[in-house]
């Protein structure tokens, strides 16, 4: 049975695609991040724990999702850190994001980018659902 929040890999010939679902937008963002880390087989070190803050300008839900995941990829590449907890504070057109995690212990695959391809956050059976294609 499908859990309330989750993700699953969808077959894609060349790149990676995941379907993500959650009861609300904040859980959907967190679940998408976990899906992305699982695809790239990102393993966090046990310590030290790290925290990062950043802001995203809100245009629409899909852009928020792309911007959020892209920021995580950037932090992973530049600082070697990944995350497992997320806090979002919506302030009009700006979203303040705090993320907690740890240095990356191991990462098997590189994700080049988060694409907008076919992306549409849809309401389905009281849940939100979206497909995300990553360029790898």
């Amino acid at each position: 049975m499908k859990t309330q929040t989750g993700f699953q890999e969808i077959e894609h010939t060349a790149d990676w695609e995941i379907k993500v679902w959650a009861p609300d937008l904040i859980s959907l963002l967190a679940s998408a991040a976990q899906g992305m880390y699982q695809l790239s087989k990102t393993v966090l070190a046990e310590s030290p724990r790290v925290v990062r803050d950043f802001e995203i300008c809100f245009d629409d839900q899909e852009s928020l999702l792309v911007d959020f995941l892209s920021e995580l990829l950037f932090l992973g590449e530049q600082q070697g850190v990944a995350f497992d907890n997320y806090l979002f504070e919506f302030q009009d057109k700006v979203i303040k994001v705090r993320v907690w995690g740890a240095p990356i212990d191991h990462q098997a695959k590189e994700i080049k980018a988060v694409t907008y391809h076919g992306m549409k956050i849809l309401e389905k059976e009281e849940n939100l659902e979206v497909n995300i294609v990553f360029d790898v």
Binding site: E9, E11, E77, G80, A113, D135
Partner: protein
């Protein structure tokens, strides 16, 4: 709307068409260079649906062209070519791709493969050591911001000034390795931050360095001009603009989400977002994309320089001539302003090639003097462990496909399916049994790139040559591979 075989019009054994009337938002037809067999394979994924979406871009001329190595990508199919009218047609970053100027360089040699075979294990180790590869690997160079700006404008010329390139390297590179019109002020600080430590690295995914044997010559005159001899070694380098290009594409796909509203452009997929070339947004993207293109030319040049050092370290004193000479370097993800003949009229267009190679025929002044008689070399790497091809462009490619042809074998199996069916370690052993030496960053990554996950490159090449949009010169087979 799914495309079925009954929606297609057969033009010849190698050419099919999706008419403009297939969907009301199409601006031009889609022309597919494919045999019936390859077409049936391609219809298993969404590549044709994506080609139909691409046919909605404003300012398109002629037809959207799809090559036989097509597969589903994001927004635009891999293997797609689309030409938009210059300067009021659009440019679409997603139709060029995140890895801007991903491409292939081929180097030839006078090294007899039989003489070098006992040293192949040492050679693949040295290549792996000299040429950084794999997830998150930085390079040996650390550029200052100022120097990166110079490199963005100069590309391979920057590498030559630093002693990493020869005059012949530049002459035998598309655009001499320097696209004019690059402006670093159009590149975000974040892209520069990502680009600075990654110069001179191969990256991961399907990127590779491969030592090949020139197995068979199909056009002796062209092979002689290039300096490719049967039984000798050659080297291919496949990589692109790394995080620098990925970030530039991401930045502009994001910015153009607003541009399509500003210019009232309606598209079936947000990944296809675009802006008129003569708009401020379009001009900025062109300037930034050219920076990434120049970065990629310099990146492959550095890797070629270090590959030469690896060859020297292992083979000096053991073979007569260990030097690797440049055959050609060509992009397969790029947007270029070119002049083409459309319905009998010469016009300037922006040719978007995503997973497609420029293939200019004989006589074009864009080619180095020695190649003007034979046509532009086209480098078509096969999947790991299988053959690769050197082709040349033809008059047919100029007339039928905006001077373009295929770029590789083309995937047919998803990465997840490949990993389920193939164990990386088993594959490595199998390839080594065939005498192919492998160095790979990860076994899972190796499995994803298994030959079974790709189409038959020979069938792809037979299709483009059958259609007359390229001509065979040389077939290469692999002896050693460094995988990112």
């Amino acid at each position: 709307m799914m495309v079925t075989i009954s929606d297609l019009k057969k033009i010849s054994d190698y050419e099919w068409e999706i008419p403009k009337g297939f969907r009301s938002d199409m601006r031009v037809p889609v022309r597919i260079f494919v045999t019936r067999d390859l077409l049936e394979q391609a219809m298993r994924d969404k590549s044709l649906e994506q080609a139909v979406n691409a046919a909605t871009l404003p300012g398109l001329v002629g037809h959207v062209t799809v090559m036989p190595d097509m597969h589903q990508g994001y927004g635009f199919p891999i293997g797609g070519v689309a030409a938009t009218r210059y300067p009021d047609g659009v440019i679409s970053p997603g139709a060029i791709g995140y890895d801007i100027n991903c491409g292939v360089r081929l180097l030839g040699s006078q090294i007899e493969a039989e003489t070098a075979k006992p040293y192949m294990e040492n050679l693949v180790s040295a290549l792996n050591r000299y040429c950084p590869s794999g997830v998150g690997k930085g390079g040996a160079l650390r550029l200052s911001e100022k120097e990166l700006d110079v490199l963005c404008q100069e590309g391979s010329l920057w590498a030559k000034k630093k002693g990493y390139a020869t005059e012949m390297d530049l002459r035998r590179t598309e655009e001499m390795g320097t696209l004019q019109g690059a402006d670093p002020s159009a590149v975000s600080p974040r892209a520069k931050q990502r680009g600075r430590p990654q110069l001179g690295t191969l990256g991961a995914g399907n990127h590779f360095i491969e030592v090949d044997l020139v197995e068979e010559i199909y056009d002796k005159q062209a092979a002689d001009v290039m300096g490719l001899t049967e039984g000798h070694l050659a080297l291919q380098i496949h990589c692109g603009s790394r995080g620098f290009g990925h970030q530039i594409c991401s930045d502009y796909v994001r910015r153009f989400q607003g541009a399509v509203k500003k210019y009232n452009i309606k598209l079936p997929d947000r990944e296809l977002v675009c802006a008129p070339m003569n708009s401020p947004e379009g001009q900025d993207y062109l300037a930034a994309m050219r920076c990434a293109a120049n970065y990629a030319f310099a990146n492959r040049q550095l890797l070629a320089h270090w590959a030469r050092q690896a060859f020297e370290e292992v083979l000096a004193g053991k073979v007569d001539h260990f030097y690797l000479h440049q055959i050609y370097d060509i992009a397969h993800n790029m947007g270029k302003i070119e002049e083409h003949s459309v319905e009998g009229q010469k016009m300037k267009v922006c040719v978007h090639r995503k997973g497609a190679t420029r293939a200019f025929g004989p006589g074009y002044e864009e080619l180095p003097a020695e190649y003007r008689k034979i046509g532009q070399p086209v480098l078509v790497p096969g999947s790991m462990g299988t053959a690769s091809w050197v082709l040349v462009g033809t008059q047919g490619s100029m007339q039928q496909s905006f001077g373009s042809t295929c770029h590789g074998a083309g995937r047919t199996m998803s990465r997840s399916m490949a990993k389920k069916q193939i164990w990386g370690e088993d594959l490595r052993k199998e390839l080594e049994k065939e005498g192919i030496h492998i160095r790979a960053g990860s076994m899972a990554g190796l499995a994803e790139e298994a030959p079974a996950a790709y189409k038959d490159v020979d069938a792809v090449v037979d299709t483009v040559t059958g259609a007359g949009i390229a001509k065979k010169v040389v077939r290469l087979v692999p002896l050693a591979v460094v995988k990112g």
